[in-house]
């Protein structure tokens, strides 16, 4: 091995460490908390944490697609609240048809209606962005307020409690979403596995996934290659709405109550998870796997700090520092990668 090749090899070691930074971060937080918090690695705690992580992971998966296209979806937290309220309202009160009639749906129907609502709000976001040329930040900021306001209007700000349902109307059994388990694993984890696998498949192996990356990497070139840019954008916002609806259903089922303020600031956690996982805010880059690891890092960090008894004020400070550090390392990796590539070209020449 020649001396000239040495710095190159050194550069790629650092580079590989940087590439694996989310893994390393995950490993570090798990290792740290398993020492300082005695019950941290117990099965019960791990399952509990996974359930917390899953909620953010759903939103972060949807958010990842949106961010890869170069957009942002601020409305997911509000959609969580609204979808939970709609499901709760349908269980408790059904739809009032006037003249003394009320229409009740069974639980599978309510789930489908709620998912459809999430997709519909996503479609509205997408149409605002593609047809009316509203910037994604503004369009979804608008729907953030509209959805939250609608959630509050549904019950005049009150909670829909006790979603046990009424056997006479066929509205019982909602609890299985939040409390049900298969092979000792909670329902939400199974749903997350399915959604994550589908999302990763879309990203890696379908033309749609390729188009999502192309639109985020260079929208003009994508359009000139015959990619229907607007359809791609509609899809990502609808998918994000779908993910938000899932979270709204799971939370209201776990609590067996729907509260209109549920989901506030969830969008920020979702963005944080995506960014931690290596999704570039300028579009074109990101992976579903990275995002899920990012969601785990954030979730474990906050749960672990709670177990340690760290105040919630300090938790926020620490979370913020971790997010910024992740992006700083990301930028450093980009620079180093470019330098290594140039060195290689220079050596070949």
């Amino acid at each position: 091995m020649s001396a000239a090749a040495q710095p190159l090899a050194g550069g790629s070691l650092t580079l590989n460490l940087m590439r694996l930074r989310t893994f390393i971060a995950l490993f570090a937080v798990v290792l740290f908390f398993s020492f300082v918090a005695p019950n941290f690695l117990s099965a019960a705690n791990l399952v509990l944490m996974s359930k917390h992580v899953a909620l953010n992971a759903f939103l972060a998966i949807g958010m990842t697609f949106v961010i890869i296209t170069g957009g942002i979806d601020l409305s997911v937290g509000s959609m969580v609240g609204l979808c939970g309220m709609v499901a709760g309202g349908l269980i408790l009160h059904g739809i009032d048809l006037r003249f003394g009639y009320t229409l009740f749906f069974n639980i599978p129907e309510i789930i489908l209606i709620t998912l459809a609502l999430g997709i519909l709000i996503g479609l509205i976001n997408g149409l605002l962005i593609t047809r009316l040329n509203v910037a994604p930040f503004i369009a979804t900021l608008g729907t953030l307020y509209v959805a939250r306001g609608t959630a509050l209007l549904l019950s005049d700000g009150a909670t829909f409690p006790n979603l046990e349902g009424n056997p006479a109307f066929g509205t019982t059994g909602y609890a299985f979403l939040g409390a049900g388990t298969i092979l000792h694993l909670p329902m939400s984890i199974w749903i997350l596995i399915v959604v994550a696998l589908v999302a990763a498949y879309i990203a890696r192996s379908t033309p749609l996934g390729r188009h999502i990356f192309a639109v985020g990497g260079n929208e003009r070139a994508a359009a000139l290659s015959g990619i229907r840019v607007n359809r791609v954008k509609l899809f990502v916002y609808m998918f994000s709405g779908f993910c938000a609806a899932i979270v709204g259903l799971i939370i209201s089922s776990e609590l067996m109550a729907a509260h209109p303020a549920t989901g506030e600031t969830f969008e920020l956690n979702a963005i944080a998870a995506a960014v931690l996982g290596g999704t570039s805010m300028s579009g074109g880059r990101g992976t579903i796997g990275g995002t899920i690891i990012g969601a785990f890092v954030i979730g474990i960090l906050s749960d672990g700090l709670v177990m340690m008894g760290v105040s919630s004020f300090w938790q926020m400070v620490i979370k913020g520092v971790v997010i910024i550090a992740a992006v700083v390392v990301d930028q450093a990796q980009r620079k180093l990668q470019q330098r290594v590539a140039l060195q290689q070209i220079a050596q070949l020449a």
Binding site: S205, T206, P207, L208, R210, H211, F213, A214, G217, N218, R220, A221, A222, A223, L224, S225, G226, I227, R228, G284, R285, A341, I345
Partner: protein, 522 residues
């Protein structure tokens, strides 16, 4: 030698470039160029696209620094580290690409970075008054308080000129100042130039419009491939001399045309029109036919509507009208995807902006437009994709060690081949190529030309746009010339001459040129 020049010309040399070279990442833009700028004179710089004119003047204006050689101002060597430095030495420049702040007013633009202050605040009233005086001198009715983005492009160009004039430069560089001006506006500009000349200002003037140069120039310097090939007083030369110096006699490395015959009609574009927002047409009722196996070159100056014509055919402009036929069948699809499916493919002029997704890999860029072909159900067939990528890399001899590297890591020529490969993977019947050799080195150019010849031999119809006379003459089976949005000439290879093409490319650019053009065309 220099003394002789001074005595002959009668005007002192204020600035001199000696043996100046400029190298950009691998390509040599200017090679050992000598250039003299005389005060009280219009020093014309002319050459084809990519000959190095803009690079040369950017070194004078401090935008770029020479790699080799030196710049002498009043006989003393100087080194401008940026435009502000050059400006401090009395050198101003009107840039080809307008350097204006659209969101600011005309007056604010003219006094940008040298605002008139009064008691610690900008004196807007005084700025507007002075700007008004300047604009009056340019005989334009622009309101100094109007926002620049609300002006028409010609007016913006006048503001850019006013900005440069306002700095009282001793040396004023104008890079294509008339490209967006109407004929009366050009006359006004020429009067202003005459004024400045009388005051002893040295003007460096770049333009493609040869008649313009002959009219206002005092000295002419011709550049070709980064070298100075001619340097004369304007009164001693004519258009023929200029064209000869610009083009030279040494042939470039073009692939020779094959002997294959032409097939049936591949593409017929009928009456293509694209309205301009500012009125008139960017593409003005253009009709063109390409046969299978035929290469049609479209020549014209910047802004002649050539790129827009290709974009209309490709379906990029929703406002475009006209009829299209591929292999005789009408094309009703109005979207790009539909037209790709019908066998049309575009290699855009600006590959960074329109051709590539730099963050994605070579392979992903190559198959971006043809994924449907490689997909079964929802699934991209990874092996089929890898095969196609490998085949295309080999066929176009793209130099890349691993197709999974980002496309941005390739050289310009190889990036261009990726864009061509992407188009070819859609199995097109007609290839529309917009300046396919722009910004790539000589070797890659030769490759691209060979590829074009090969594709034509395989039966593709090719329409390519170029601003390079050599290129259009050597590669085309037929030559279409566009000017001002219109098709002004359609010549067979056998009848085409430089003079005819150049003449047809400036039809409609001025009131008093048509008679001479007609003469040349006959």
């Amino acid at each position: 030698m220099t003394e002789l020049h001074v005595s002959v010309a009668g005007q002192p040399v204020v600035l001199r470039l000696e043996g100046v070279s400029k190298v950009y990442s691998g390509t040599v833009a200017v090679k050992h160029a000598d250039f003299e700028v005389r005060s009280g004179a219009v020093n014309v710089l002319v050459g084809e696209n990519g000959a190095g004119k803009s690079t040369l003047v950017k070194m004078i204006a401090g935008v770029e620094q020479p790699t080799l050689g030196r710049i002498l101002l009043d006989g003393d060597p100087v080194h401008f580290k940026d435009t502000a430095d050059a400006m401090a030495h009395g050198i101003g420049m009107v840039f080809q690409e307008l350097n204006l702040f659209g969101n600011l007013s005309v007056a604010e633009n003219i006094f940008a970075n040298r605002e008139i202050m009064r008691r610690g605040r900008i004196d807007h009233a005084e700025q507007e008054r002075q700007a008004g005086t300047l604009l009056d001198r340019l005989q334009t009715a622009v309101d100094p308080r109007a926002k620049v983005e609300d002006l028409m492009i010609g007016q913006q160009q006048l503001v850019e000129i006013a900005k440069a004039v306002a700095r009282d430069a001793r040396i004023l560089i104008m890079d294509e100042p008339t490209s967006a001006l109407s004929a009366p506006e050009v006359e006004v500009l020429f009067r202003v130039i005459a004024d400045l000349k009388a005051k002893g200002v040295a003007i460096v003037y770049i333009s493609h419009r040869l008649e313009e140069l002959v009219r206002i120039g005092d000295h002419i310097t011709v550049l070709r491939d980064g070298r100075v090939t001619g340097n004369q007083q304007m009164k001693d030369v004519d258009v023929h001399w200029i064209v000869h110096q610009m083009i030279g006699s040494d042939a470039k490395d073009f692939a020779t045309p094959g002997d294959h015959g032409f097939g049936g009609e591949a593409l017929r574009a009928d009456d293509i029109c694209l309205p301009r927002i500012t009125g008139g047409y960017a593409v003005d009722h253009v009709s063109l036919t390409v046969r299978a196996g035929e290469i049609v070159g479209v020549y014209g100056l910047m802004g002649a509507g050539r790129s827009e014509f290709l974009e209309c055919v490709m379906g990029r402009h929703p406002l475009a009208s006209g009829r299209l036929f591929v292999e005789g069948k009408p094309v009703r699809e109005r979207d790009i995807g539909g037209r790709i499916a019908r066998g049309l493919a575009l290699i855009p002029e600006d590959r960074q902006r329109d051709g590539l997704v730099p963050i994605l890999s070579v392979a992903e860029n190559l198959t971006m437009a043809s994924l449907r072909k490689l997909t079964r159900g929802f699934h991209i067939q990874a092996r089929a994709e890898a095969d196609e990528v490998r085949r295309e890399i080999k066929e176009l001899s793209i130099k890349v060690t691993n197709p999974r590297l980002p496309v941005s890591s390739l050289s310009g020529g190889n990036q261009q081949k990726v864009v061509i490969g992407k188009a070819l993977l859609t199995s097109p019947k007609v290839l529309l190529m917009d300046e396919p050799s722009r910004g790539i080195d000589i070797g890659a150019k030769a490759d691209v030309f060979r590829i074009m010849r090969g594709l034509a031999a395989q039966g593709l119809g090719i329409v390519f746009v170029t601003s390079d006379l050599d290129e259009v003459l050597a590669l085309s089976d037929r030559i279409a010339v566009m000017s001002n949005g219109r098709l002004t000439a359609l010549l067979d290879r056998a009848d085409a001459t430089e003079a005819k093409i150049v003449a047809a490319s400036s039809i409609g650019h001025g009131p008093n040129r048509t008679s001479e053009q007609r003469k040349v065309l006959q």
